[in-house]
Symmetry: C2
Subunit: 325 residues, 2 copies
């Protein structure tokens, strides 16, 4: 900026004003400065500007990883959520700083905030240790979390309506005449637990009780769909419907059912969750519960903006929708 000032024969102050389109600078000095700046590919240094203005137009998006697995960022649902966050932030003139933290050390998620890198944090992905989030919130870290609402939660969350999703999925299978419906998912995860609750409610509405033999634990790793189906086979339990808590689980489950000689949907009807892009290309057509990714990104960003500006923000549940295929 000093260079531009020298070349234009004015002071740094005038250059600053011209570049910020202040009205306190004459028409022709402004155009002269602007021309000079663009010819030199000069742009205001945001770091210095932030320092001076004590502002910050960057948001941190944090995705936890399992220290053990150290797997790639690979869940299609979270990946597409990330894309929608990028768009929602860009639209508001915010940058997105992506970082990954150990799922057990969630307090590390606040580092980019503590170091002044970002104005707030959006947390997406899977983890447990909810109490660490409360600790962060107590520290006044502006933060919005994707996921289920916990009973004692002191932070703002945005999530899908998992209970309703579970009901829709199970209700659809029941409506198709299925009566023995298996459930695949990790019910120690809050979101999955809510889907399981919806599952139980839908069964109860038909006067059916959930059979614990039909509930199989599974992580969000795709291959667990295969494990779960084999587990059901080992248990020797009879079933004609299957509700999988992600589309990836549903797909591997379907392939495994096929290798076990069971035809989908004739022998076992399957419903997945998320409605990832690939669900519509799968064969047989995969019926699923859509999570509104676009709206989710928007809502997460809108809530975070409120927190950053000191306005209150409510936790939110977005509607789940049954996609028939």
């Amino acid at each position: 900026m000093a260079d531009i000032a020298r070349l234009a024969g004015v002071s740094k102050a005038t250059v600053s004003r011209a570049l910020n389109r202040s009205t306190l600078v004459s028409e022709d000095t402004r155009t002269r400065i602007l021309a000079l700046a663009s010819s030199l590919n000069y742009t205001i240094n945001i770091g210095a500007q932030n320092l001076r203005l004590k502002q910050n137009r960057t948001v941190g998006v944090v995705v936890p990883y399992d220290a053990g697995v150290r797997q790639e960022l690979s869940d299609p649902f979270f990946l597409s959520l990330l894309g929608s966050l990028a768009d929602a932030l860009n639209a508001r003139g915010f940058d997105l700083l992506l970082s990954r933290v150990d799922a057990e050390q969630l307090d590390a998620a606040a580092t980019p905030f503590d170091t002044g890198r970002v104005a707030g944090i959006i947390l997406i992905g899977q983890w447990r240790r909810h109490e660490q989030l409360n600790t962060l919130a107590a520290r006044q870290v502006p933060m919005v979390v994707w996921g289920a609402q916990a009973p004692q939660q002191r932070y703002v969350s945005v999530g899908g309506d998992n209970a309703s999703g579970g009901m829709l999925a199970t209700g659809h299978l029941l409506a198709a005449g299925r009566r023995r419906i298996a459930f695949i998912g990790d019910i120690t995860q809050a979101e999955v637990a809510q889907r399981y609750r919806g599952y139980c409610q839908a069964l109860a509405a038909q006067g059916l009780a959930p059979d614990p033999q039909l509930c199989v634990p599974a992580s969000f790793l795709a291959q667990d769909g295969a494990h779960a189906v084999r587990q059901l086979a080992r248990r020797g339990v009879v079933y004609d419907g299957l509700f999988a808590c992600s589309d990836l689980l549903a797909m591997t489950a379907i392939n495994t059912l096929r290798t076990l000689g069971r035809e989908v949907p004739r022998d076992v009807a399957v419903v997945g969750y998320d409605d990832i892009a690939l669900a519509s290309y799968f064969h047989p057509p995969l019926c699923t519960i859509r999570q509104p990714v676009r709206a989710a990104g928007e809502a997460l960003v809108a809530s975070l903006m409120a927190l950053i500006e000191g306005r209150p923000a409510e936790s939110l549940q977005l509607p789940a929708e049954l996609v028939l295929r």
Copy 2:
């Protein structure tokens, strides 16, 4: 930092030294300052530190979008590449700033660099306008691009070996006895053009000539796989093999073949490209060309680090690998 200094009864300089683990500070003042800082959740403000040190440990990852479609960031291959970039950068203590630019305005990709936000740029995704990249490179923007090597390119690129990938895919189909092999892909894209070249070479090795009737244009949008298969049907052209330039195209192509009453792989054998996670769960099993995502992220970051540190960096091609399923 001033607060900490006051509370510890020392100067800001001492606090700075203690926090940076300088040896010029006595053992017990250091521990006292460190304790104070952590109890207050205080961390050095990176923005101010960067300004003072004229350094920057952030890298910009830029993903172009089509202004028309304004689609979500959704290509599974680029998404997983993004994940591997996040890991590779994190491992080096760098942050990742994600931004999206209009594919027609690639010069905007340099904005985060011009504004001093990032030390360099990694560009992934699809675009045309290669000449804009040369312009950026001429401006000395440290930049590494994922993709094909162009003849007159003045920037550093890292990409897969597309010619070899095309040969492997086609060679596999030929080895399976297929002789009429369709090609689906947008050969105006440099990477796809190279795959097409590999396709032609593999055919030539068997004394076959490529039939233009068998080459169908398609974008990377998944549904184009369906369009392409219908196009082939309209042309009334006979084929028993199909090489699709992405797994998504292959999957929609397969589903469309099925609706047209053609069985895969009996009537038409199919090979895809990328080896995205879902390829292994697809039915029928999808044979594909693997792009080494992990190595790609590493290589992109390593090359960018070289450029940032003023070392030379060579453009690079990573080996393609045939995945049989």
